[in-house]
């Protein structure tokens, strides 16, 4: 909302208050602003008279002028085609700051120029307000302009504007009158009355008919104005509209905008002769068509409200009028509409069609008393500035509530919620400044809130009013006195994050929304993907089912920037739809690629680095010896020979493996762990186990086995044969042989809690292990 100071001063005199102070004071009561200051930003301007003007000898368009500015006569070189002796002009003096830059004395083709003669455009007036003559030549001021004075004042452009960013509850501030009440409350000043008295003529025509056939309109006023004379608005109306950001068109259109700015109530004027004598307000039919005044054919739906004649829609209520009934240059008679439409409906329709000053006001809600006021004001202005004959008749449909609100509240309730100690007198004073009346009874204050404050309906609203005007920042912070209690939180996720960081991984944070075509990657599961109804872009269309596509996108991003050494993790949510129900679950994803260690001690990431991360984490969580890998259910994006499902307690809790060479040429390793499943599993208590007092015996053994026999199978056999005395099995050496075989060497540790083991006890066990493994796995013992 752009507040014009001159417009405001019609209703509340603030001429003694600096514009910046005014804006800051409004901010401190809750009304923020984006900018404030002069409407025209240019400085250093003065009215001058061109006393001589000759052509520049070295130019076909420059003129050498002498310009009298009162205190002196300046030499100015001017290129405008319309500059000539005798006219009064706007001069920017040496040092003047214009939107195009600072004016400096200088020589133009050998002749001194001590300033600039300006066009309106050069002053920085917004482009939409410029007429052709404002652009193509310098501005010619009238004969009555006084040399040496301020040209902006002469032109009526000496306004100041505050551009407010209002909260959505304060629809009442989308009007000059509303602003006047609000600012009046700050400075304790009275708001001037609005002028509404106008003559009417006896209306001989048939009474205009309004029938409302929707529950989305509770107030509709219609009045006829005859014999309007369409012309330019008076200058003050044009200038106030411009300061408010609205382009002047002609007096009739301008008056409807002017009244909307003053009262907050949007109006609509119809060409009465083209409209006919009846209006029906109804819900639009599904697929009903209407050509709006921007000459676009709109396809409407049942949610929209239309203004219609007997046959078809003639306007989209509250949003935009129809082309057929638009007021044009030759319009003679008009119908004035002042109405209230359902704010939700207007919001939905305007979102589809056009957000406008009018729809914005309907959306925020309107005071029905203002609807009447706006009608009267429009009649007053049409009569005065468009020579209109105003009908004595008015057609009214009214089911609105126009009563003021009465709220009872106690001083105790106010101070109790705020934590303040404001006196009753001060509270009453604050209410009075806001224009509320207060009846002081013993326990309660009975506060009457005028209907214009549609945002106030309960005690708490009144408490906020007191706090706002009293100064909410005067409240001193006090910690609440509450019962001592323990704060509870989920340690599981935090513990995992901490462990992953400790393992040297960098945490990432990626988007939940991913491209649709990635959503089924890195999984074999079949599921219903969840898509946005109205995505901003294809890149963020689908809720991810797995974090792995995100991890791969992070890899690509970094890889393109030549950062291929990545060991990263992320904890986030995955989403799926099961039987129509949305489910989300926490997941850990890890990606490792490139070098694990860099530089002198360079170490390339392989599968076992990632497996190590998995083991470290699961052991840390207490699942030692309870998990295994299973080469089943490998999605096609994974390398079939270097990937596995992670099984914990017989349940699949994740996936680990290398990215398939068809997906990436680089060696990338991925893991995903379903944390919600893991969190549900119990773990044993951490407690001390007795350490054997007796020395243990350590033996080494190596087997040469076929390549397709894996380490786990050998360990399983060793365990089976070793019995309870075998307490530790460590693979300590592994190498490949030529003939499709490999050698694996194990260190076995035997121990007993109750005795010192001797070779007599251990050797038979050791030999049994050797014979069992070699026979069962068809392998040989190395170094027999």
């Amino acid at each position: 909302m752009k507040l014009s100071r001159k417009f405001l001063n019609d209703y509340l005199d603030t001429s003694d208050i600096d514009i910046k102070k005014l804006a800051d004071d409004m901010t401190s009561i809750g009304n923020e602003y984006a900018s404030c200051g002069s409407f025209i930003k240019a400085t250093g301007l003065i009215i001058g008279k061109v006393v001589s003007c000759v052509m520049h000898p070295d130019s076909d368009h420059l003129h050498l002028c002498k310009v009298d500015i009162g205190k002196e006569t300046l030499d100015i070189v001017c290129g405008a085609p319309n500059v000539r002796e005798g006219i009064k002009v706007i001069v920017a003096e040496d040092g003047a700051v214009l939107p195009g830059g600072t004016i400096k004395k200088g020589k133009i083709r050998g002749y001194e120029s001590c300033g600039m003669i300006c066009s309106i455009e050069e002053l920085g007036l917004e482009h939409k307000f410029l007429k052709e003559e404002d652009i193509k030549g310098i501005c010619e001021l009238g004969e009555d302009a006084k040399v040496g004075e301020d040209p902006l004042k002469y032109l009526g452009l000496d306004d100041e504007v505050i551009d407010f960013e209002l909260t959505s509850n304060r629809g009442d501030l989308l009007s000059i009158i509303g602003m006047a009440y609000e600012i009046g409350a700050i400075y304790n000043r009275k708001v001037n009355d609005i002028e509404l008295k106008y003559p009417t003529i006896k209306d001989e025509t048939d009474k205009f008919k309004v029938s409302v056939k929707t529950n989305k309109c509770n107030l509709f006023l219609a009045k006829k104005a005859f014999n309007v004379k369409i012309m330019d608005s008076p200058d003050f109306i044009q200038k106030r509209l411009m300061s408010s950001g609205i382009r002047p068109i002609n007096n009739v259109v301008d008056i409807s905008n002017y009244v909307m700015l003053e009262t907050g109530q949007p109006l609509h004027f119809y060409d009465l002769d083209r409209l006919g004598n009846e209006i029906i307000v109804r819900d639009a039919k599904e697929n009903e068509e209407l050509v709006t005044l921007d000459n676009i054919k709109r396809n409407l739906s049942n949610d929209d409200i239309v203004i219609a004649d007997k046959e078809h829609a003639v306007g989209l209520a509250g949003v935009m009028g129809g082309l057929d009934t638009e007021v044009e240059k030759d319009t003679k008679n008009i119908l004035i509409e002042s109405a209230i439409f359902d704010n939700v409906s207007i919001r939905l329709t305007s979102k589809k069609i056009l957000r406008s000053e009018a729809s914005n006001r309907f959306e925020k809600g309107l005071d029905p008393n203002r609807t009447y006021m706006a009608m009267e004001r429009a009649c007053f202005l049409l009569n005065k500035y468009a020579n209109a004959d105003i009908s004595s008749e008015i057609t009214i449909f009214d089911e609105s509530n126009k009563d003021d609100k009465i709220i009872n509240i106690s001083v105790c309730e106010i101070n109790g919620l705020l934590g303040l100690n404001i006196s009753k007198e001060e509270i009453i004073n604050i209410f009075n400044r806001l224009g509320f009346t207060v009846k002081d009874s013993k326990n309660d204050l009975e506060v009457t809130v005028p209907s214009r404050r549609i945002d106030i309906s309960i005690k708490e609203d009144l408490i906020e009013e007191v706090a706002r005007i009293y100064g909410i920042d005067k409240i001193e912070g006090v910690l609440p006195v509450l019962d001592t209690k323990k704060g509870c939180y989920n340690k599981f996720i935090r513990g995992i994050r901490e462990k992953m960081v400790e393992l040297g991984l960098n945490e990432t944070m990626s988007y939940t929304l991913i491209p649709n075509d990635l959503s089924h990657q890195y999984t074999n599961d079949s599921f219903d993907e969840i898509n946005l109804l109205d995505p901003m872009s294809d890149d963020h269309r689908t809720l991810r089912y797995s974090l792995l596509p995100s991890m791969m996108m992070i890899y690509d991003y970094n890889s393109k920037r030549n950062n291929k050494d990545l060991s990263i993790f992320e904890i986030g949510k995955n989403f799926k739809k099961v039987n129509g129900e949305y489910l989300e679950s926490s997941t850990l994803a890890v990606l490792m690629s490139g070098n694990y260690q860099d530089g002198l001690y360079k170490e390339k990431v392989d599968f076992y680095h990632l497996k190590g991360v998995m083991e470290e984490l699961l052991d840390y969580l207490g699942f030692n010896n309870r998990y295994s890998l299973s080469v089943t259910d490998i999605p096609q994006e994974f390398h079939p020979g270097a990937s596995a499902s992670i099984i914990l307690n017989g349940m699949k809790v994740g996936i680990i493996g290398k990215v398939h060479p068809n997906v990436s040429k680089n060696d990338i390793y991925l893991m995903e762990l379903y944390l919600d499943l893991i969190e549900k599993l119990g773990v044993g208590k951490m407690e001390y186990k007795e350490i054997s007092k007796y020395p243990s015996i350590s033996k080494d053994v190596a087997f040469i086995v076929d390549n397709n026999i894996n380490n786990e199978e050998i360990i399983k056999e060793i365990k089976k044969s070793g019995g309870k005395h075998l307490v530790k099995i460590d693979l300590f050496d592994l190498y490949k042989l030529d003939n499709n075989k490999k050698s694996l060497a194990y260190n076995l540790v035997f121990s007993d809690q109750n005795q010192t083991l001797t070779d007599e006890i251990v050797m038979p066990l050791f030999n049994k292990i050797i014979s069992d493994v070699t026979s069962k796995l068809k392998c040989e013992l190395r170094d027999k």
Binding site: S168, G419, G487, C488
Partner: protein
Amino acid sequence: MEKEYEKRNIEIIDELKKDLNSVKTSNDLVVVKAKYLGKDGIVTLLSKGMKDIEPEKRGVIGKIINDIRTNVTTLIEEKDNLIKQELLEKKLNDEKIDITLPGKKNRRGSMHPFNRIVEEIEDLFVSMGYDILSGPELETDEYCFQRLNIPLGHPVRDTQDSFYVDPLHLLRTQTSSVQARCMESNKEKGPIRMICPGKTYRRDDDATHSHQFGQFEGLVIDKNVTLANLKGTLEVMAKTLLGEKTNVRFRPSYFPFTEPSVEVDVSCFRCGGKGCSLCKNTGWIELLGAGMVHPNVLRSNGYDPDKYTGFAFGTGIDRLAMMKYNIPDIRLMYTNDIRFLKQFDRKELK
């Protein structure tokens, strides 16, 4: 006779010195040692000859032989020490390394700045007895809006333009949805003290807005909770997160779920309130929105507004992280450039 032995003494020592001069290694020394002190060594033989000396002279001669033995032994030991010393020096010299080569380290991980802030906030509020709660990111319109006094068509929905997946479900636009869930699930309808950090989503994308971002919401419900209590609590929070000198300022504002509502500014922690580019020369930075829980919100989640009051506050996590770590563009938080991530690898123990 004594003179003869004295002479012999000098001869032996001279010869030994000569021998030792040519000794290079411990092995050489063993040979020399055997020549003098071995079974048939020169000194050993002298001692053995004692039995042929007349008894009355044995004392004097014995002493001379002893002197010879002592001298010989001393000289050999000295040489032995010398050789060991040389060996040690050689070993030390051989083992000299370039101490400027890099150390062998474990990889150093890092926590994302978003979660660093989350954990800092969680630690602070847990210490004040708040519970840390979470809720679904894919929320119902009811919990995200309606139970928070934002009915369908409410204009505030404009500023929280949402991602719906069907007419009833959306990615939550605010963590306030957890407020409603928390009040509803509190069976006794007794006091509440909680915060809920998490991800939120709105249709927005530029240098200061991301369509995905983080918020945390705080909620206290109890008897006689006041706006002054809210300010006191936020002062503690601001001082902890942004520094002890931070001041807090209230400005009136509007949120549908609180009444009165306040916009909360903190004094600029970079310039201390003097005015700088961070605070756009105002000395203040907008930090969060807050207020007293609206009676409609209490009521629609089963609380009696005549018995309980409460305050709620909520702010952006990314914004806090960006302020704290001087991150200029929110997109840096989500592009996951490893050069960005690795910068957050320290503990801040102070």
